[in-house]
């Protein structure tokens, strides 16, 4: 029986302010799965920081986010370990979730599909006001006033009029702005955005990213953004956690990850991205797809697809500090020194 790999710890973000959220050694197994879907994740978000979690579908990004929010149905999954520090309080995720009073108040979430994330039966003003009333109390008129202010803040034209419109009367970009207004109505300390721009077209994407960046500057909230789009990451992230098969394989400041990727999976992702400065030719791909939980290899979970895979990859990958604040889970890291030796 090999020991569990030591989980990657987040880079030190001391200069950006205190941590709002830190998640330690989070493991979650879906019932009926042989191995944990999320296998020991450590994440940290500081005030004003934008952390991007990248990885392909099914690598556990959304599951982690939903778990932090306490939104996963308890019947379908089981938390094996994990502790969550949020605003100075500690929660053992095996037994407890964030209290419902925090959801939508101190911690808010926006979803991927703006087209279906609003209740079609009520006006958008009503829905924003509902969140305000739930956490701040006060009169309905005050809540509607707050809803109006929020619509102004997220840059919706003719906000008075929009307040009384139904979701079907708004475009996708507008709806995502409404979702953001709703999430931020109670001045949360942390915003979790689960692929907020995936369903939008590119120009609207850029607007929404600008909006999130502006709001971050204004409110000092921390943001955890889940995405599979490295373009989004490059544009907005302060730090990046690259996930594969339910593990964080590389974690560091955005410049480090882009300029000095160490994990073969990160390198694969980078080379799979089209570049303006090197036109022509075929894009590199990472061969195969994420194995199902039943076929997840032991040791390094990426080894079934890794170009550098070696016998020792069957052992859990060690955690290596490639640069200050930049950690990577790979037997060969740092690459420059090790590849030459094995080759």
């Amino acid at each position: 029986m090999s020991p569990d790999p030591s989980p990657l710890s987040p880079p030190d973000t001391g200069d950006q302010g205190r941590d709002i959220l830190s998640l330690r050694d989070f493991r979650l197994r879906f019932r009926g799965q042989p191995v944990p879907t999320v296998n020991g994740i450590d994440l940290k978000v500081a005030a004003g920081e934008i952390l991007c979690i990248v990885g392909e579908s099914g690598c556990g990004k959304s599951v982690t986010a939903m778990s932090i929010m306490g939104l996963l149905p308890p019947r379908s999954s089981e938390v094996l370990s994990g502790s969550l520090d949020f605003l100075g309080k500690s929660y053992d995720l095996r037994h407890e979730n964030l209290p419902a009073g925090q959801r939508g108040n101190q911690i808010a979430m926006i979803f991927q599909e703006p087209m279906t994330s609003l209740n079609p039966s009520f006006t958008v003003g009503n829905q924003i006001a509902e969140s305000v009333l739930q956490h701040q109390g006060g009169s309905r008129a005050e809540a509607m006033e707050r809803a109006h202010d929020m619509l102004v803040k997220v840059g919706i034209p003719a906000p008075r009029q929009r307040l009384n419109e139904y979701p079907y009367q708004l475009s996708g970009g507008m709806r995502q702005r409404v979702m953001i207004a709703m999430a931020l109505a109670n001045d949360p300390k942390l915003l979790i955005a689960d692929e907020p721009t995936t369903a939008l077209d590119v120009t609207i994407q850029a607007q929404i990213l600008d909006l999130i960046r502006d709001l971050r500057r204004e409110t000092g909230m921390g943001t955890m953004m889940i995405t599979h789009d490295l373009g989004v990451v490059a544009e907005i992230a302060d730090s990046v956690a690259v996930m594969y098969g339910g593990e964080v394989v590389e974690y560091g400041p955005v410049t480090e990850i882009f300029d000095n990727p160490q994990h073969p999976y990160t390198i694969g992702l980078m080379s799979a991205m089209p570049r303006l400065d090197q036109p022509g030719g075929r894009l590199a791909i990472v061969p195969g797809s994420v194995p199902s939980m039943a076929n997840m290899p032991s040791g390094c979970r990426f080894r079934s697809r890794c170009a550098f895979a070696h016998a020792r990859c069957a052992d859990p990958a060690p955690k290596v500090e490639a640069a200050p604040g930049h950690s990577v889970a790979c037997h060969f890291a740092p690459l420059e020194q090790n590849l030459a030796v094995t080759a």
Binding site: G101, R103, F111, L118, N119, A158, R160, A183
Partner: protein, 291 residues
């Protein structure tokens, strides 16, 4: 700015609400259904002030008279005016239809929401009971329940209501299973709304349209059921008039006085047709696919 946008706002709001109505209005058969139903509702409501004879007054000089100027629809076996009884009978029929469906909805919709939203054991228990009730044919169940409760119009309505409940549980549960996985329910939970509020504001309004359609169609079924129970003597009790009990008496005189059976038969046919057309129209008008 408020002044300039206000009329626009009104106009747009109006548009949203009129959308369903507009579609409904252009649906000819639904309109016909609406007219039929309104007609029967009107005569039922206006029964006390219409210039018609008392429905319970007998007359030995006018037994089983064919339709004439004095009795437009003829008289029955003890000389009561058939038209008067038909109009008063409309009250019993419509009341039975609406009240029993009301009972079925009040029981079925909350149970369906609980089963669909919470799943697990809650769902297992509610759904198994529903299936057990559905195993018995609707009318047989209603007859058994009515016989058990004792013959009266109120008991007939309760019996029909309970018999119709499983349909609503099932329909609601299915709809809730759909709506529950919608992103807006997740986002309601993400903004920290408590479960009762999510059920009331996010689930209920969005499962309601198909339930309303089902309710309209079930009223038609309930009216037939009430007529059947009254025909069997388990519904409205003599001398109060009801279409079902009128048919029951009339069957003994089909050769001598066919009008006694004809008018209540036609009425049942028309009112049931009306509710069915109305329900179909509502279904098309509320169909989200055509928005």
């Amino acid at each position: 700015m408020t002044e300039t946008t206000a009329p626009m706002m009104q106009e747009q709001l109006g548009k949203a609400e009129n959308r369903v109505w507009k579609k409904f209005r252009s649906h000819r058969s639904a309109l016909l259904g609406g007219i039929l139903v309104s007609f029967f509702v009107l005569i039922a409501v206006l029964a006390p002030i219409l210039p018609i004879p008392d429905p319970a007054t007998t007359s030995w000089s006018a037994v089983r008279k064919a339709p004439s100027m004095a009795h437009w629809m003829g008289t029955d076996e003890i000389g009561r005016d058939v038209m008067a009884r038909l109009i008063w009978g409309a009250q019993a029929s419509l009341l039975a239809g609406v009240v029993s469906v009301g009972i079925a909805m009040c029981l079925g919709v909350p149970l369906g929401i609980l089963a669909g939203y919470f799943g697990g054991w809650t769902d297992a228990i509610i759904s198994r009971c529903t299936e057990a009730l559905l195993a018995a044919p609707f009318l047989i169940l209603a007859i058994a329940l009515a016989a058990f409760l004792g013959p009266s119009l109120t008991n007939a309505m309760i019996a029909i209501g309970i018999s119709a409940t499983p349909i609503f549980i099932r329909l609601t549960r299915g709809q809730v299973l759909n709506v529950r996985s919608e992103d807006y329910v997740d986002s309601a939970r993400a903004i920290g709304l408590p479960t009762p509020k999510i059920l009331r504001r996010y689930i209920l309004p969005n499962v309601l349209p198909p339930i309303l359609v089902q309710a309209t169609l079930t009223i038609a079924t309930a009216i037939i059921a009430e007529a059947s129970l009254s025909f069997l003597g388990l519904g409205q009790q003599a001398p109060a008039p009801s279409w079902g009990s009128m048919l029951n008496t009339a069957k003994n005189f089909l050769n001598q006085a066919p009008w006694m059976a004809m008018w209540p038969g036609i009425s049942i046919f028309l009112v049931v047709l009306g509710f069915n057309l109305l329900g179909d129209g509502l279904r098309d008008a509320l169909d989200p696919r055509e928005h």
